[in-house]
């Protein structure tokens, strides 16, 4: 191309700087491995700074996408309309079933004194950008920490989960998609509540690593978030299991490429409270509760091994405490 038209300059004597620069680049990679968020602050500052520009520039692109996407739909609009009517009728039936079931589950929970699910607050955010690089698939939202968005929160659209918040600036936030190479999500596969890890590998369908070798999955099984680790709320719809080349993958319900408005779920698992003394297994079994030795702090006592202590006397019939008696009477 243009190479021949230029007068080629003489070779520079820059061997030493090149070696130094290469060493610096290797150090940078190693530093990045040790501290992956090395450039996060700079990236967020830049994204926050360009947020108004991105929001303005993204709007015509969305219109263009809609226009391009609707060109081929013109030819199938009649069939699509019939299909949607049929689907709508079936969904109305399922909605009635869901309402009845929800009511029934609520009554069972009240009867069983079940711990209610933690409430979820959400922030509605607009997608202002998408980046698809060989080693990172993200979307950028026009809401950040000033809208109470924090890293780790789940991002969903009307169909299902899309990803998690990866970086949160003041006015923008980056979402790491479920399909990204860095994405690992603990999931539960229904029916059977089988636990697995959903691993993104930059394909449109993340793979499933089951936690047990004897678990067998079937195509069509439903995949939801398991809530393990307390970062994500349990039960978020994610996708369905498909088998591909002897490996199980997840066909995602949500399409991150077409989502325009998404919800960021602020999930905070309530801290687990220690059980009351009356609910301890030892007390429930009729044994006296263990008392901490005054000279040793409870926090530094290692748990005893579960070997049974030798029985030195005959078991005594349990004597319920007045509080327990009152509970039973109630």
């Amino acid at each position: 191309m243009a190479n021949v038209s230029w007068k080629i300059a003489r070779r520079t004597n820059a061997q030493l700087p090149l070696v130094i620069v290469m060493a610096l680049a290797v150090v940078l990679v190693l530093l990045g491995k040790a501290q992956s968020g090395l450039f996060d602050r700079a990236r967020m500052t830049f994204t926050d700074w360009t947020q108004p520009l991105l929001a303005v520039a993204h709007a015509p692109l969305v219109q263009f996408d809609r226009w391009v996407g609707s060109v081929d739909e013109v030819f199938t609009v009649y069939q699509e309309n019939l299909r949607l009517k049929d689907e709508n009728a079936r969904l109305r039936q399922w909605r009635n079933v869901a309402v009845v079931m929800q009511d029934r589950v609520g009554r069972y929970q009240s009867l069983l004194h079940a711990v209610p699910d933690p409430g979820l607050n959400s922030v509605l955010a607009r997608v202002i950008g998408r980046a698809s690089r060989p080693f990172l698939e993200t979307m950028i939202l026009g809401a950040g920490s000033s809208n109470n968005i924090k890293p780790g929160q789940a991002v969903v659209d009307a169909r299902g989960m899309i990803g998690r918040i990866y970086l949160a600036g003041s006015r923008t936030s980056w979402v790491i998609l479920l399909t990204d190479l860095n994405s690992r999500i603990p999931v539960s596969v229904a029916p059977g509540n089988r636990q697995a890890i959903m691993v993104g590998d930059n394909t449109s369908m993340p793979s499933l690593d089951t936690l047990s070798q004897i678990v067998t999955l079937r195509a069509g099984d439903q995949v939801v978030s398991s809530g393990d680790g307390g970062l994500l709320p349990p039960g978020l719809p994610i996708g369905t299991v498909v088998e591909q080349g002897g490996k199980y993958r997840v066909a995602l319900l949500a399409d991150a490429g077409t989502s325009e408005d998404v919800e960021v779920l602020a999930f905070r698992k309530p801290p687990e409270q220690p059980p009351a003394v009356s609910q301890l297994p030892a007390v429930a079994a009729g044994l006296p509760p263990a008392t901490a030795t005054p000279s040793v702090s409870a926090s530094v006592v290692a748990p005893k091994p579960a070997t049974p202590a030798p029985i030195v006397k005959a078991p005594v019939a349990p004597q319920p405490s007045p509080a327990d008696q009152a509970d039973e009477d109630r």
Binding site: M1, A2, N3, V4, S5, W6, K7, I8, A9, R10, R11, T12, A14, P17, L18, I20, V21, M22, L24, A25, V26, L28, V29, L30, L31, G32, K33, S36, L38, F39, A42, R43, F46, L54, A57, H58, L61, F64, D65, I128, G129, R130, A131, S132, R133, P134, F135, L136, E137, T138, M139, I140, W174, L181, D201, N202, T203, A256, G257, T258
Partner: protein, 178 residues
């Protein structure tokens, strides 16, 4: 304008022309990393930052120094959002190869120049791929990096045209090599 004023203007303009290749590299990185896509992320953005590196490494290596390549690579890493240092090291490796084989690359005419750049882009993408494989200790998919390579090569012709114009207008007249 007096002689002294004119000399001062020329000195400052010359200083600016030294920065033009690096600024072009920064601009190319910023443009290619804008999170806007016409294809909903189906097609990756090209590595536009590589074009100024390749061009000025061949035409005027005194203006595209290893430090400049390092700076462009760091900006690419910041903007691309991947693991830190991957693109920096890839760019520096590519620069090292081009710089050593400069005589072979510089004399390529027409389509050969595009093939020369394709070779450079292949070195960059292959380096990034293997660094990522080592980084995660996991072989990543080949398709995304191949798509990135194809897009980078496809965008070289317009990029080289723009860089050529910039070189002619801003760099060439004032900093000719003896």
């Amino acid at each position: 304008m007096g002689i002294a004023e004119r000399a001062g203007f020329l000195v400052s303009w010359r200083s600016f022309s030294v920065l033009v290749p690096v600024l072009c590299g920064f601009g190319a990185v910023l443009i290619s990393n804008l999170p806007l896509s016409l294809t909903n992320g189906l097609i990756p953005a090209p590595l536009l930052g590589l074009a100024p590196i390749y061009f000025w490494c061949l035409v005027r290596p005194d203006l595209m120094t290893p430090a400049a390549v390092f700076a462009i690579g760091v900006l690419e890493d910041i903007m691309a959002g991947g693991p830190p240092g991957v693109w920096t090291l890839s760019f520096v490796i590519t620069y090292a190869v081009i710089e050593r084989q400069r005589d072979a690359f510089a004399g390529l005419p027409g389509l050969g120049a595009v093939l020369g750049f394709a070779t450079a882009a292949l070195i960059t993408c292959a380096s990034a791929y293997f660094i990522i494989a080592l980084y995660y200790w996991h072989i990543p998919l080949l398709a995304p990096i191949v798509a990135e390579l194809a897009m980078t090569v496809a965008f070289y012709i317009p990029a080289a045209y723009v860089i050529g114009v910039i070189h002619r207008r801003l760099v060439g007249p004032l900093r000719s090599e003896p």
